[in-house]
Symmetry: C2
Subunit: 416 residues, 2 copies
């Protein structure tokens, strides 16, 4: 097993060298071919997918998990249109982000280059195979994919199509490799490939991510969880605050950028909380509040210390009344996950201070936490969200799959 | 031990929160106080240093190692002037590197913030204590320092001065903490502090760096070694090539950006190599060459495969004649360390292709490899050179000790 994985690493490294100098047209061509072939191969993809779905049903997997596996016509269309969108993004490679001249005449700059070889370890959804590979290719990288065993047949077929499309565009098929075994040892071997894999990006639940971080010898870009806060300030527009909080909690409660804790300035709590609580009640949200919250919202369940740390991913919300913004920031610093925090306020000074002092991957004024997403923020696409501070902090698009090297043009400069 | 290190981590995290919002004036003040106090405390620093030096001599450490330990008047002056230079650098924190508006009116930007808590593990030179801490402070971070046991008394005294100066400027003393034990277990405990330390930067020999990489749970910024190449192209200016090669090899042979392998286009080898060999001979450089090199330079020692991988850090140079630039690039890719490579050529197309295709942290045209250094490239200062591609690739200055968070200003935007 180890030898096979090392061989994949070697091939990926060779492919990465070719990808790094591949021109934009060829990369775009490969991505467009992938989209066309996915649509044309709907039949064979469907067959492979059926094997996975039947096996999942046979093993009695819960309905929600089976749903995630299914490559419906709609899912296939989304994959193809995702590929076409990535194809049309500007090519980040070769951009010289800055250039300056030294006193000795040496002209120094920083040029954007691919990261090299990217490893993706993910769970059930087979669309990750296509979406993640597309971004890696666009940024000139090679990628080694290791999907969940439930989607094994689907992923294998999808990876074949991606590889054929690369070859068809004159690019190395090995720029996309799929670990075609469900043996768990293969993941460990992959995580040990520090000489071949430049970065590992795990996609999935906290357990998977912790496993990758514990075992990876190379850097890992990841977030464990999103305990996101909205702070409703003394000078909040009550109606706006209600709408933002409702959107942040209920628009899609099962995702990492949904609000998990609501913090309310005590001066506005009396006016805001009963109104908000009614709206949450209508939306089926269970509230768990501090003493002051419960005084204003009688049917609210008492919150325990554990609630402040909780990522419910469900229609449950922790609520705390705070004496001022500083206490709100202290709460966020102590219990938060550095993912996404928003303030609702009409006060200029506090809006700016919140932006400065809260060190989360996205900090918003007067907008929903649900905007922490590569598409929503305008990166064009997203391979994941990082709450590691190294290299990338927040949603990662094509640019985050690159680095910069220094370049220098001289005419004989020597060091004295 | 572990509890003590965890407590340091906790204090560093708290200090980092305060440092992140410290204004530029206060940080500059702290750095200037450090410079003044170092000069004023020359006596007490000298006493502490004497203990280390005497112990080193007593244990029979080699002269070069003892030299590195000594805080001479000159070394102390350099530390102080280094602090003043860092004090005067622009503050990177708070810079908004880009800002754009989304179709829904949300204004999105990226704001530069400190990395958080930085760990530095280093060997003998006590000046690293001051230089590294200064850069971390400037970028708004907290730092935990673990120096070599040989410099224990010196480092302890220097760290005390840094801490007093921080407090004097109204900043948390715990923004600089020194692990005041020579117990090796303390390093392992520090490397396990993933929840408190955002990044580890090892400074020293390859063994130390490998130890840190093997044991660190957090990301590590590092380079193992510098096997740097100069490629003398067919269209090189022979005289310029000779000067650049001589500078790259002999100006300071013991450092990571010195040339270790010279690659020469076969069409220019006859004109260049005898001239260059004479110059190297005069400078006391031992040449180890391929067959073709030896045909042109008769007294050259035959090179073995191991020579192409070697980082001599000495007056030894491997020399290989190549049929063309593509073979030179293949050689660099196969044997190099992605540190620094230069081409000498007057040919426009090849100069640009070399810059594009060689993926090292610094790629130069017509200049010495010795320029891969934060000061030389204009970063103002340097905490080390990274050949990891994540986060930083090349010399790391103040900016590389920061990251960016996303910020967004809205007026009630909701996700639909």
């Amino acid at each position: 097993m180890r030898e096979k994985i090392v061989e994949m690493g070697r091939k990926a490294r060779d492919a990465a060298h070719l990808m790094a100098k591949a021109d934009s047209t060829r990369k775009r061509d490969a991505l467009e071919r992938m989209a066309v072939t996915l649509e044309r191969e709907a039949g064979s993809i469907g067959e492979a997918n059926r094997l996975d779905v039947e096996a999942a049903v046979g093993r009695g997997l819960p309905g929600a998990k089976v749903d995630r596996l299914i490559i419906s016509e709609k899912v296939l269309k989304e994959m193809a249109s995702g590929l076409r969108e990535v194809a049309m993004l500007p090519d980040p490679v070769g951009e010289v982000t800055r250039m300056w001249t030294r006193p000795n005449g040496l002209r120094v700059g920083r040029m954007r280059i691919p990261l090299g070889v990217i490893g993706i370890v993910y769970e059930s959804r087979p669309n990750v195979t296509v979406d993640a590979a597309a971004l890696c290719i666009k940024a000139g990288n090679a990628v080694i994919l290791r999907g969940g065993s439930e989607a094994f047949h689907s992923n294998t077929r999808l990876a074949e199509i991606l590889r054929e499309s690369l070859a068809g565009a004159g690019l190395p098929a090995d720029a996309v490799q799929f670990v075609d075994t469900t043996d768990r040892q293969a993941v460990l071997d992959l995580l040990g490939l520090e000489d071949y894999v430049d970065v590992m990006i795990p996609r999935g639940g906290e357990d998977l991510i912790r496993f990758v971080v514990q075992n990876a010898r190379m850097p890992v870009l990841k977030h464990y969880k999103g305990v996101c806060h909205v702070y409703v300030d003394l000078d909040a527009d009550i109606d706006m605050a209600k709408k933002i909080c409702l959107n942040a909690k209920v628009q899609r409660p099962g995702v990492c950028n949904a609000m998990e804790t609501l913090l309310v300035h005590e001066g506005v709590a009396g006016a805001f909380l009963p109104v908000a609580a009614a709206a949450f009640r209508d939306a089926g949200v269970e509230l768990r509040g501090c003493e002051k919250t419960r005084a204003l919202v009688p049917d609210c369940i008492p919150a325990t210390e554990a609630d402040w740390y909780a990522e419910y991913l469900d229609l449950i919300l922790a609520v705390r009344v705070v004496p001022d913004m500083d206490e709100a920031i202290r709460h966020i610093t102590r219990y938060g996950s550095q993912h996404t925090e928003a303030i609702v306020t009409e006060n200029f000074e506090r809006a700016h201070r919140f932006i400065q002092e809260v060190q989360s991957s996205l900090v918003l004024v007067n907008a929903s936490t649900r905007f922490n997403d590569g598409f929503q923020l305008g990166l064009g696409a997203e391979i994941g969200i990082s709450t590691s501070r190294l290299h990338a902090f927040g949603p990662m698009g094509v640019e985050e799959l690159t680095t910069t090297k220094f370049i220098a043009f001289g005419n004989g400069q020597l060091r004295s």
